[in-house]
């Protein structure tokens, strides 16, 4: 029997199986689309082919209560912090860049959330921002991250608004700026946006769908924060944390939202 954590995010739904030793054993990710229950069903069916799943499943994210299977909903940020602490066993600052949200979380030496902040009501600096720009430029995420490696000089993106950022980029292309330099500018604007959330004074862990799909941005983050890391498959960590939060005998376990 394996426990299943599902993070039903605004763009993608991520599922992770966790064994009795609290190790992640299998991963699956689908687009959330317009029906979170369908997305969760796809995750459950995928795992059910090869594994026996224990119920309830443990959920977080925007669609955390939108599934028909028995579930226990959790706070995504608390879950993510739990998973990061499980891996690093130290106080740290988490910068998580997801589809619609950029989050800063300060985790103390006991693994508890000390402070957190989310982006304002604006998608600039999030995964959606990058997806929209990539779509307009007709560049895939893989190409996007490869292009940035060839940058020779950064160009600065000033616009806070995704739509105006695109107009700004079109202007840059018109003025002869190279695509690699522009992409480096876009990555750096995302890093700058995330650094507005809070002062970062300790070890930094970078997580979320965006760093997972754009490894170059992790390199740039590491340049800004030398004392940092980004674990593999970090977009699955919130789902992993949901399971960890609900393991029996958990000390100081926060109350699940709908328990």
């Amino acid at each position: 029997m394996q426990r299943l954590g599902i993070d039903l995010g605004s763009s993608y739904t991520k599922g992770v199986l966790v064994d009795e030793n609290n190790r992640m054993t299998a991963f699956h990710c689908v687009k959330s689309g317009y029906n979170f229950n369908n997305a969760a069903k796809k995750i459950i069916s995928y795992f059910a082919e090869n594994y026996e799943i224990e119920y309830p499943v443990y959920t977080c994210g925007y669609g955390r209560e939108q599934i028909e299977a028995p579930f226990v909903a959790n706070s995504e940020l608390i879950a993510l912090s739990k998973a990061v602490y499980e891996i690093y066993k130290r106080s740290c600052s988490i910068i998580d860049i997801g589809g619609q949200d950029t989050k800063f979380i300060q985790v103390n030496s006991l693994g508890q959330v000390e402070k957190f902040k989310m982006n304002r009501k604006c998608a600039a600096g999030t995964g959606s921002f990058l997806e929209e720009i990539a779509f307009r430029l007709d560049v895939t995420p893989e190409e996007f991250t490869e292009f940035a490696k060839d940058a020779t000089q950064e160009v600065k993106i000033n616009s806070f608004c995704t739509v105006f950022a695109i107009s700004e980029i079109i202007g840059m292309i018109k003025n002869g700026a190279s695509l690699p330099n522009i992409i480096l500018g876009i990555y750096n604007s995302i890093i700058l946006r995330s650094s507005e959330l809070s002062l970062v004074e300790d070890y930094v862990v970078i997580t979320g769908g965006l760093p997972s799909m754009h490894p170059t941005i992790v390199t740039l983050f590491k340049k800004k924060y030398p004392d940092s890391d980004s674990p593999e498959r970090s977009q699955f960590l919130a789902a992993f944390g949901c399971v960890l939060l609900n393991r029996s005998g958990e000390k100081n376990k926060p109350q699940p939202i709908n328990s």
């Binding site: 925007y62 706070s75 995504e76 940020l77 608390i78 619609q100 949200d101 508890q112 959330v113 000390e114 402070k115 957190f116 902040k117 989310m118 304002r120 009501k121 100081n252 926060p254 109350q255 939202i257």
Partner: protein, 428 residues
């Protein structure tokens, strides 16, 4: 007000939430109905003059001179609570008012330009036509521009008091200046009212206002009790009389009823939020269009918002009938919103302690800079002084387009989880 009461009734429907209904809401309705009936009669018969007044303006002076007093901010709150602000704001914007300025102002002017008002449901033909508009800039400068729109439209006088902003030292010079401005309003008010100013009548109104404010303060202070018999969402509705009937017997009578009910609740161990576990301070404006949703969300999280800057803002207990001008100047310049950040920090620190607060929520209201106190680092300084965790949410008092509900729910739930993880059993 009907819109606000509708929300209150919706909120307290038992099958929708575990929140316990305050019985006094029926008396609140009667009190508010009486106020609007008087206003309607004056608007229809023109038997009494109508003054428009800002929410922390010189209401006592206006009532003392026989005016019926109408408060556009109350109307703004009704538009917000009725979830109609975004229907009207674009009209005001098209007339040159920025969507970034006060959404009470833009929704109110927009509704007026569209010839619509929730008061029509209570039989009003339109908002009551003013004979004079009277403001105090203690809360913000927008009120003067807001009233000036109507002054131009109706061709009636707009007079007011300009209070200094960001006051640290509330000294005699400031009090004298504001008191002098009160005096200077009188000739214009006499002209419009068609009657002479009477100091005894003013003193009486100041005395009634004082008594109403003291009772309102007692109501709010009942929330010091653990668990609290009243929460912010109740107070935001039950504050109606202290906003629009300050200086009347009706407000005094109503708060005696409410206070008695809260005392009874404490005796009978009835709390506003069943199983209250966390006590929160709300800094900033309410989100009028989400009062009901937020009340239910916090109740589900066993969390009671026990105190707020907003509801505390109508406690003018420095009013003194023996000294009506100076005490009015003192009371209305002592207001939280018109004070410097250092004064605000001290006030907040005191309230956090008095109300046994576990966490603070700052609502950064997109169109209300003066009522968003997390814009100049106060939240960090207060955290450093007190160690009490805080959460900032982005929204607006009336314009729902500025609020991301799902994101905010996640933030609020996470904050309560954070408190749950952080607080020791002895503090909860």
């Amino acid at each position: 007000m009907e819109e606000l009461l509708k929300i209150m009734n919706e909120k307290i429907t038992p099958e929708k939430s575990d929140l316990v209904k305050l019985r006094s809401v029926n008396d609140l309705r009667k009190t508010m109905d009486g106020y609007f009936a008087r206003l309607k009669e004056a608007a229809e018969t023109r038997n009494r003059k109508i003054a428009w007044c800002t929410s922390v303006g010189p209401a006592e002076l206006l009532y003392s001179m026989g005016f019926e007093v109408y408060f556009p901010e109350n109307h703004g709150a009704m538009l917000g609570a009725g979830k109609n602000a975004d229907k009207y704001i674009p009209t005001a914007v098209a007339h040159g008012y920025s969507p970034d300025i006060c959404s009470y102002l833009t929704s109110d002017i927009g509704a007026f330009l569209q010839n619509e008002t929730p008061l029509q449901k209570s039989g009003f033909a339109s908002v009551p036509k003013p004979d004079i508009l009277v403001f105090n800039t203690n809360q913000c400068r927008e009120v003067e521009d807001w009233f000036s729109f109507y002054g131009r439209h109706f061709n009636v006088p707009v007079v007011g008091i300009h209070t200094p902003l960001s006051i640290s030292d509330l000294n005699q010079e400031i009090i004298k200046s504001v008191a002098d401005q009160y005096h200077r309003l009188i000739p214009e008010l006499e002209k419009v009212a068609g009657k002479k100013f009477d100091i005894d009548s003013f003193s009486e109104r100041v005395g009634l206002s004082h008594d109403g404010c003291v009772l309102w303060k007692k109501v709010l202070q009942k929330a010091k009790h653990i668990p609290s018999p009243i929460n912010f969402f109740d107070s935001a509705i039950h504050m109606g009389p202290i906003v629009v009937m300050r200086g009347t017997r009706d407000a005094v009578d109503y708060y005696k009823i409410l206070l008695a009910e809260l005392e009874e609740r404490i005796d009978n161990k009835i709390s506003a939020v069943p199983d209250e576990r966390f006590r929160i301070y709300w800094e900033g404006m309410p989100l009028w269009y989400k009062l009901s949703n937020l009340a239910k969300l916090f109740a589900k999280l066993n969390t009671c918002i026990v105190a707020s800057t907003y509801c505390n803002s109508w406690v003018f207990d420095d009013l003194d009938p023996q000294n009506p001008f100076e005490s009015s100047a003192l009371a209305y310049s002592k207001l939280f919103i018109v004070r410097s950040d250092s004064v605000k920090e001290n006030v907040l620190e005191g309230l956090l302690h008095e109300f046994s607060i576990h966490g603070i929520i700052y609502h950064e209201s997109k169109t209300c800079a003066r009522n968003s106190n997390n814009r100049f680092g106060l939240q960090n300084r207060l955290f450093n002084q007190t160690g009490i965790p805080y959460l900032e949410i982005n929204g607006d008092l009336s314009d729902p387009r500025c609020y991301s509900e799902e994101q905010s729910i996640i933030a609020i739930e996470t904050f309560i989880d954070q408190l749950s993880g952080q607080l020791t059993n002895s503090r909860i």
